[in-house]
């Protein structure tokens, strides 16, 4: 299609204001109802002290934020979130890379491998969480029995590190397939002539992977890292809820889970709102990062 046609298309659509507005309306309504209004409410709530029913409300300025920053529990939660997200990120990408590279080399039954690897994505996070919690439950879980048989004093109910390992495993397992699809696509996009040339020159698969595959996957990897951070920050609620409920002693109480417990269990709406405002700021930084460094490098012309 040439440029002239494009302009014609544009003019035809923007002749009258009514139609484009009408077409945009559903999307805008959804944004308004599910994004702008709740965000605004969270923002105002963050500066208020109110009883849950909203009958007694006091303006407290930055008190909620001040209390959060002064709270050791909150700082721990931030720390836990960082550790969790980094570990989850590393594990997910590493596993997805291995799987993607391996299935790129598989010749027979490729489709079957892919389907099996993609399966966890179809499982609801809560179900996945309960599954992992059960498998590694020290009293009844078969995998925990194996670990204990091997002399590991495994107890995620008491030991914070064990609990962290467990939620990282569960969260990564659930997310590997997402990274896998992108990496597989990335590998497919690498011209096979490059790989073949290297093979002819005598480079073994591992060498080919590290010297050709990995560098060419760079932009994909960066994109995935950002997406994994977003996942780790905002979407692991269900898994944490099913596996550890943030425990023991707050060892897996990531920020997004703390927002939930403080708001919906403890009914401390002011603090919960302040926390979600901080999380919103995180999300904003992530989005900016992605726009700045990823979108710029992506070329939509092939």
């Amino acid at each position: 299609m040439n440029a002239g046609n494009d302009n014609g298309l544009k003019r035809a659509h923007f002749d009258k204001v009514r139609l484009p507005v009408l077409l945009l309306l559903p999307q805008l309504t959804i944004l308004l109802l599910f994004f702008f209004i709740p965000s605004l409410r969270a923002l105002t709530q963050a500066f208020l002290l109110s009883d849950p029913f909203g009958n007694s409300v006091q303006f407290v300025g930055f008190d909620n934020f001040r209390q959060l920053l002064a709270s050791e529990v909150y700082r721990e939660s931030v720390q836990v979130t960082v550790v969790f997200t980094l570990a989850q990120n590393a594990l997910t990408i590493a596993a997805a890379l291995v799987l993607a590279f391996a299935s790129d080399r598989v010749i027979r039954g490729k489709g079957l491998y892919k389907s099996i690897i993609l399966l966890p994505y179809a499982i609801a996070p809560v179900i996945a969480g309960i599954l992992w919690a059960f498998l590694f439950n020290p009293a009844v879980g078969p995998l925990a029995q194996l670990l204990r048989g091997a002399g590991v004093a495994w107890d995620p109910n008491r030991n914070g590190t064990d609990a962290m390992v467990l939620v990282v495993l569960a969260a990564s397992w659930k997310h590997i397939c997402y990274d896998y699809i992108f990496l597989l696509a990335g590998l497919l996009a690498i011209p096979s002539s490059l790989m073949e040339a290297a093979a002819v020159d005598g480079a073994r698969p591992l060498r080919r992977f590290f010297t050709i595959g990995l560098p060419l996957l760079g932009p994909t990897l960066f994109f995935l890292a950002v997406m994994n951070f977003v996942y780790g920050f905002f979407e692991v609620f269900a898994i944490i809820h099913a596996v550890t409920r943030g425990g023991p002693a707050g060892a897996t109480n990531v920020m997004v889970y703390k927002v939930f417990t403080d708001g919906f269990v403890n009914l401390d709406l002011g603090s919960s709102a302040a926390q979600s405002v901080i999380l919103m700021a995180f999300a904003l930084v992530m989005t900016l990062l992605q726009f700045r460094y990823v979108e710029r490098n992506v070329n939509y012309d092939s």
Partner: protein, 440 residues
Amino acid sequence: MNILRRRLAFTAIAAALVAGTQAARAEPVQVQWWHAMSGTLGERVDELVKKFNASQQKYVVVATYKGNYDDVINGTIAAYRAKRAPQMVQIYERGFMTMMLSDAVLPVQDFMTQRHYQIDWKDFVGPVAGFYSYKGKLQAMPFNSSSPILWYNKTHFEKAGFAKPAQTWGELEKQLYTIKQKGISACGTVLPGDYHWSYLENYSAINDLPYATKANGYKGLDTEFVYNKTMVVQQVGRMKKWLDDGVMEIAGQGANPEQLFASGRCSTLLASTAAHGNIERLAKIDWSATYLPWEQGKTPKNSTIGGASIWVLKGSKPAEYEATAAFLDFLAKPDTQVWWHKVTGYVPLTDKAYQIAKMEGYYKDHPTREIAILQLGRGTPTENSLGFHFGNFTQTMFAQREEVDAVFAGKKQPQAAMDSAVQRGNEVLRQFEKLNKGKY
């Protein structure tokens, strides 16, 4: 004349008949009741509502399960803010202060009096009525009340050479260690999911230890926790020791404490009397139950209640309130109470209901069903055993649990953890006080 009269009478009768059928045909008034009873208990609630609906034609109660207690209070808050609140909600006992001072509810005793229902409020058993009362009047309708008791595996105790669990913590500890050492069971006891209730709160009440100032919150919002200066600290240390020695086990996610007890893996369990329904159905072991233990040298006081009550929310039409009142009146009836007590394991809420069950000889066949009642009514309540009236109670309990868990994980010493729990809890109490100044 006669004919005229007859005709008049006839028309009058006809008119009355028409009016009568119209009244009968009029749509019954529908009211909503949100609750948190799932599983077996949920089935019982449905039966209860069915009984009421069948007992008359004017009203229909619709009971809706809204998730666990946290979900129900959250759903209620959201609905209230959107002005679509149900007429009745079941809220856990920890939400008492939050609900009472919310300006969103109608105190139930006044509510019933205004609608001319004669309910003998004095007949409600002391610990229950006392908990839900403010200035001598009931604020919420007691519904499902329970107390923790000590469940035990009879076979395990007999094998170890004990007739039954000992009465004091020290003696019980020795028994549990013996059972473990003899290899009779994998664990002496399993940590209950709500251990703060049995191991810390009721522990304080039964041993007459102060939990907070101002009669545990009954006498003012300026109450402060003090349990870091009592034997509670030692109790937390004891629990940690049991865990370290493998005498106590944590069920953890994916398993539940009741299962570990009912399957015969663990020999004892401190759990609500309301577990009767489940354990009677689940357990393949030979079980029994007894009072919660107390400390050597103490005279045990009453335990305190848990469970939930029904609150009437503001904002409904008069006809809907008539229906609500009729339902609450139905709940308070001794027959309803006795039935509910028998099918669930919750304690009967009125003396009359208790007497009926007793006269029927119910406790001869089901002795463990009476333990919670006797334990709740034991001795004269003191300021320490009356119960706990804290604002934002759930939040303070959460902080406490986090600190106790830190002890279990070996991250903190019991004293340091309890100091920190008290400090965190007091901050939460001050916030509630600030918000509700002058209301209590």
